[in-house]
Symmetry: C2
């Protein structure tokens, strides 16, 4: 899919290694169900051979910030990371896939062990480590493969290790998701990059999914956190794949200052430029996540304009991209706009449904399907052509004001059911 | 599936014709897309031959009450029925399927025309008619087939016409849904029966789906409305198939008093007995609707107990039965209890997740899978056996108090996607 361009932003390769001074790596250490299953004597579990353990490390200490899932059930790594980030500083990330280390009696102990292993291998303090896990909930995390895997993981860290790392955080993702941008502050070129994993149990509520961001821009921890909070609300919190808010969601950012700009410590032009860069990266990652939603064949981008305020627009846009009926219709390339209007109608916000217009759009063109809350005559043939594309826009206009918002989702397909009907085996 | 039994309630056949003095009928009049499509010169639309127009009529005037969808988009028939029920009286219902008569400029005019046609055929005033429509949103309702169909519809009304009527309100339903019970008030045997249609765009929010109830019990209009409101909140509002709140939902009840009990006009024992009967009918219809959710192969019944109050329990139970991930796991007969705990965790209510226990149950037995928010060792083999049944119970216990609630849903299957990927063609 296409990267959305932004002015003053230069997209570059390298993901979490794009910024100066960040190394990464990923290995297959064997955190499979098999490790667990063999211990318990159950047969027939497959052994995923993909990378399952990753590390990101900065050459120098970083200011750092993170946001977490709002689910009451929270993975043990979240508790440990929250504690470690209390001082606003971090220097490395360790993360595994396959097992979420959630709802296990020994979860915190094992998350702390992961920090200890990373710290020992890197010569850091364990409180400088961000730890994360993603995968099946409620099965004890096998720590032995991680103990065995960390030395090679640390040994192989490199400034080109982003691909190995992003492969290690993928679960049901069908493709790696990385974005990086360069921008100029004080005449210094700064870089901000990141990687993200989807692709199920994804619904906007604080942070969504696992996302790791690195930058060489110098910014103090408080503003880094504020920028992250604001931009996450406009990007990751505007994505829904299936309405389920995960237990392990986390987005974190580390800033090592190696671009040598003056430290951003006030809400000035440099801060706004940094936020723009953060938006360019997270917005593109959000779109990638939605497009690669479990089983998805299409990206749905709903833009709501003309609302009384941005909040109302966001509620409406999210209601549309969350509707199972509408998502299934898009899979069928069926211009069943009544389902869009239905989802607009049950959005919990205040507006006059008789002032709502709906237009469908794609690279093939635009087609107005609903005006003032009532259906328009339109060519079903052309509508089918518009919906045959992989990126579908839904434009909802409310005649109330200047509020606007964008939300991203995907179609609901047979493969979503297949993937989730038997995820654990 | 099995009818849930209740003490003091005798289940009987006859649906909306079970109570004394109620006739019904259903016919195929041809409200197909074809009627519309031919007019517009488009080819290849199928002609459904099933009944698409139904009528229910009482021999004598009835007190009547209804509840409606909370969607801002509301079908034209809802506006007309609301107006006609302002005096708390009605004597007949006319309802069509295939076309929802929603989001059309001439919708109210056509809904009023339907009332007029029914009233003329039955010798009633048009303000005594309840009108409803269900089907595709946003396509003009072809009124000609209804004009042509009403005479035969009225002609064929009979005290055994419930089957013809219930067949006429089915859309993607795979089976008709009818329940009736008898109970005794003042030594008089009263009967209350009803029919309901599902099976997609169903989510709890006021009333859900189209439901028509008839009774010969004498009860004043205000108490009839209050009883309906209370029982709908415990039954139809506890069902979710896909999280989409329809535009045309309505549940209505007509009471003609022919059982000759003293008119219920206070919240006394007779009123409680009437509410019990209403619960027995609507609870069974709600279960039937969930079991026949679009594409469903299983009924999921989530019982939450031990909450601080019933409201909290209802929020938790509904969150579980609404989770797409959990619904897909149940389709796969996969005891992925982490998804249950995840859905409990993001339910917007106040409780301690570390006091939550989860048990799975069916006719094959019970299996504890989670205690105090953490996973238990259990036999995957036995869990698979428990989940192989068609009715699956999920018991969620919170250690906070005596609040409890039940909610009903269904699994998420390939067929849900197939049915909704191309509903209109």
């Amino acid at each position: 899919m296409n990267i959305k361009a932004f002015k003053n932003m230069n997209f570059v390769d390298g993901g979490v290694c794009a910024a100066r001074g960040f190394k990464a790596n990923g290995v297959h250490c064997g955190i499979s169900r098999k490790a667990l299953v063999e211990k318990e004597g159950v047969e027939n579990a497959p052994v995923p051979k993909k990378n399952d353990l990753a590390m990101i490390v900065s050459d120098t200490p970083c200011t750092a910030a993170a946001m977490y899932t709002t689910n009451k059930v929270q993975g043990a790594p979240i508790a440990v990371t929250k504690e470690n980030l209390k001082n606003g500083m971090a220097q490395a990330v360790i993360v595994n896939s396959v097992n979420a280390n959630t709802c296990n009696a020994d979860g915190v102990e094992k998350a702390e062990k992961m920090c200890e292993l990373a710290a020992d291998a890197l010569g850091l303090d364990k409180s400088d480590i961000i730890v994360a896990s993603t995968g099946v909930i409620g099965q004890p995390l096998p720590i032995e493969p991680i103990i065995a895997g960390v030395p090679a993981l640390a040994e192989g860290l490199s400034y080109e290790g982003n691909t190995a790392a992003v492969n290690a955080i993928m679960t049901t993702d069908t493709c790696p998701k990385e974005v990086a941008v360069q921008f100029v502050i004080d005449g210094k070129t700064c870089t901000l990059g990141g990687m993200l994993k989807g692709s199920g149990m994804i619904h906007p509520n604080m942070a969504t999914t696992l996302t790791f961001l690195t930058t060489d821009c110098a910014i103090d921890a408080a503003l880094l956190h504020e920028a992250l909070r604001q931009v996450v609300n406009l990007t990751l919190n505007r994505v829904s794949v299936d309405g389920d808010t995960s237990t392990n969601d986390m987005v974190c950012v580390m800033a090592n200052g190696m671009a040598e700009n003056a430290v951003i410590s006030a809400e000035n032009d440099a801060y706004e430029m940094f936020k723009d860069a953060l938006y360019a990266v997270l917005m593109n990652l959000a779109r990638m996540m939605a497009r690669d939603g479990e089983g998805a064949t299409k990206l749905i981008e709903c833009v709501c304009t003309g609302a009384q305020d941005d909040k109302t627009a966001a509620i409406v846009a999210k209601s549309v991209i969350t509707s199972s009926l509408f998502k299934a219709a898009i899979f069928g390339e069926d211009a069943n706009w009544g389902r869009i209007l239905c989802a607009v109608g049950y959005a919990p916000a205040d507006f006059d449904i008789h002032k709502v217009d709906v237009t469908l759009a794609s690279a093939k063109g635009k087609i107005d399907v609903c005006k003032n809350g009532a259906g328009l005559d339109f060519s079903e043939e052309f509508a089918k052509e518009v919906l045959s594309e992989e990126e579908i826009g839904v434009l909802v206009t409310i005649g109330d004001g200047a509020g606007s918002a964008v939300a991203w989702g995907c179609d609901l397909t047979y493969d979503y059911v297949r993937i989730n009907g038997d995820y654990r085996s």
